[in-house]
């Protein structure tokens, strides 16, 4: 955690709670460490390199901070922070999407009727 302390100043402009901030911190950590992780992954998968080099790369990859793992990221609702039922296209959970769509706040979205 010491490596990726949350930013001192709030830098996101959507709904904010502790879990949203944590997720945002993880995203920044992942973006920062991605080249390093991909380089290590390349070394591990390259069978033409000596076994020792590959083993060291494996160890280094496991020693990296958990926050740099892309699987730790979870898409959260930007309107309510909910982690489940989030529509990727609108970055909103299903209920928030419904409320905003019915209120006409989302351009191009209309309730189906035929």
């Amino acid at each position: 955690m010491s490596m990726f302390i949350r930013s001192k100043k709030l830098d996101i402009g959507c709904y904010v709670n502790a879990r949203v901030i944590l997720d945002h911190t993880k995203r920044k950590a992942v973006a920062e460490a991605e080249p390093e992780r991909q380089a290590l992954r390349y070394i591990i998968r390259n069978t033409s390199l000596p076994a020792r080099t590959r083993a060291i790369a494996q160890l280094q990859l496991t020693q990296m901070h958990p926050y740099t793992r892309p699987t730790g990221i979870r898409n959260r609702c930007t309107m309510g922070g909910r982690s489940r039922g989030v529509l990727r296209d609108f970055k909103m959970s299903r209920f928030m999407f419904r409320m905003h769509a019915l209120a006409g706040n989302i351009p191009g979205v209309k309730k189906a009727s035929w």
Binding site: L10, D11, I12, G13, C14, V20, D23, H24, R27, K28, V30, A31, E32, E34, P35, Q38, R41, Y42, I43, I44, R45, N46, T47, S48, P70, I73, N75, R76, T78, K91
Partner: protein, 108 residues
């Protein structure tokens, strides 16, 4: 008519040069599929929208130029606190003594 393997390999090599891919006729596992992928980090990091300038920020920014704007909510709050103070109902003053500067920490 059969095409010799050497010639096919030459063709493959030229293809790889042209499209800047790795020439790997033996099909060895060189881990190139990792490098082929584009980096996802920048996309992932922009899921939450960035913080925009707020009304408060603007006021703070213009404060040195003595530009003041009426803030009804803040004025109301201050009036309310002043009223409480007048009636002796406001929050007590913080006691700061030299003996225990970590009084808050000990409490936990």
């Amino acid at each position: 008519m059969t095409v010799p393997r050497a010639r096919l390999l030459d063709l493959m090599k030229a293809q790889c040069q042209l499209f800047s891919t790795t020439f790997n006729p033996e099909g060895l596992r060189l881990g190139n599929k990792v490098l082929r992928k584009r980096l996802l980090g920048p996309t992932l990091a922009t899921w939450y929208p960035p913080r925009l300038v707020t009304h408060k920020d603007m006021l703070r920014e213009f404060a040195p130029f003595e530009l003041t704007v009426d803030n009804q909510k803040e004025d109301q709050r201050r009036d309310h606190i002043a009223g409480l103070k007048y009636r002796g109902k406001s929050a007590p003053k913080k006691i700061r003594t030299a003996q225990d500067p970590n009084a808050k920490k000990k409490k936990r």
